[in-house]
Symmetry: C2
Subunit: 231 residues, 2 copies
DNA sequence: AAGAAATTTTTGGTATACCAGATATACGCG
DNA sequence: CGCGTATATCTGGTATACCAAAAATTTCTT
């Protein structure tokens, strides 16, 4: 058999398209068209769509084409609230479960992020962002709780686009750098309370920033569509 | 179109079978056999299996039959730890977001549970358990955070069987009754800290009980297979 | 008789064909 | 000219057919 990472491959591709804005929020994902376009059958494409649906990136509608999710501000805030709880738990558990090597790896990611953060531009921003994601993912894995790590990853994926739009901003980049550093320091000190509070602050700032982004969008300067020049 | 709750229907049926033990942990779920048995095609059955997989009830293996999950003690404890974080967040949010009507509904569920808890036997235990689930689900919904409620529901479903085996015990029933009452009281007082601590205690007790169950199983008195006489 | 290799069978993955509902379009009527 | 209805088309849901990989079984060899 083919080991069948095919639906995952398709999901990955669609996910990136959604992140880049090639597939804009609200766009329908028609089984036939996309299957033909990607050169696969409807069946695996269908599965890929379900994967993205479970991640919250697309929205299934009964007897209708699935559409790329276009979450409201409240939905995003709700999701971040859950993410916050998951990350705080991750951080606390990581303090007592993570190996020194894992914490070192987290630090390494933080420093790679720091280095790129200054220079990144254009397509490089995607790489910057992926390191950002990897940083948070590494903490979740360091909890040594696979279920937690998986759910956390799902929430991270769900908000890819929103977090991306936020993380790309120059101002936000500055903040993220120091906050990441604080989290790493807390982990190295194995101080759960400190890590929890730092992560809490980090995500609270994210909520603030996302709120700003949404308000800007409503005001007219639409920052969430292709016009931002991501491509 | 058929509105297509068909995969969900199948998933529901399989889920119940797993709960009752008709499908024992480790049993393979063969697409062809089960599809034929249920009188449907492989396609929707396949989707149903994916749903259960995402819930964690079955385990997908590349190029292999999916099997009914047989989580280890660690996996169960890990999942409960996440559930704990989710429920605590739910409770805290519910304190400030829930309507009085919602809290009243939660109380009603608690009292129905109380009433049945004394008398339930045999098949009635499933109903008792479903009310227990509904109680927790209602709190999650009362948070007015749909994402949270959904993830919470997924975790609840994932541990159906384990929680069922725990909840059925006479001793556990006693404890659950008073703890539910405490949680309701906290909600009515709209005291987030109190609710958080009560929920924390409730789930900590669940972990203890599940640990006991696992130890008993390993000791030989296998409480998690059909021999418990659920059917 | 035991082990290894080849073949058969079983199983999931993928492609495709068919069906029903929902939407869009076009035509006819007021 | 506008609105309602009928029809054509588009779309997702389901069934089925085909393929390749993995077990299981059988058979051949030593």
């Amino acid at each position: 058999m083919t080991a069948s990472p095919l639906p995952e491959q398709i999901a990955l591709r669609l996910r990136r398209d959604i992140l880049r804005g090639t597939l804009a929020p609200g766009d329908p994902i028609k089984e036939r068209d996309n299957a033909l376009e990607l050169g696969v059958s409807r069946t695996p494409l269908r599965e890929a769509v379900r994967i993205l649906a479970k991640e919250g990136l697309v929205q299934l509608r009964p007897a209708r084409s699935p559409v790329v999710a276009d979450p409201s501000l409240k939905e995003v805030r709700d999701a971040v609230a859950v993410l916050q709880a998951l990350e705080i738990l991750s951080g606390e558990l990581a303090c007592r479960e993570a190996s020194d090597a894992e914490i070192a790896e987290i630090r390494a990611l933080s420093e790679r992020h720091l280095a790129l953060s200054e220079t990144a531009e254009g397509e490089g921003l995607i790489e910057l962002f992926e390191i950002d994601m990897a940083f948070h993912t590494a903490i979740a894995r360091a909890s040594h709780n696979p279920a937690l790590a998986e759910t956390h990853a799902a929430y991270l994926a769900r908000m890819w686009r929103q977090r991306y739009l936020s993380a790309v901003q120059r101002r936000a980049r500055e903040r993220v750098r120091t906050q990441h550093e604080n989290i790493v320091a807390g982990l190295e000190a194995r101080d759960p309370a400190r890590v929890a509070s730092e992560i809490n602050a980090h995500l609270a700032a994210l909520i603030t920033n996302l709120t700003r982004l949404f308000e800007a969008r409503e005001a007219g300067r639409d920052l969430t569509t292709d016009e931002t020049g991501i491509e």
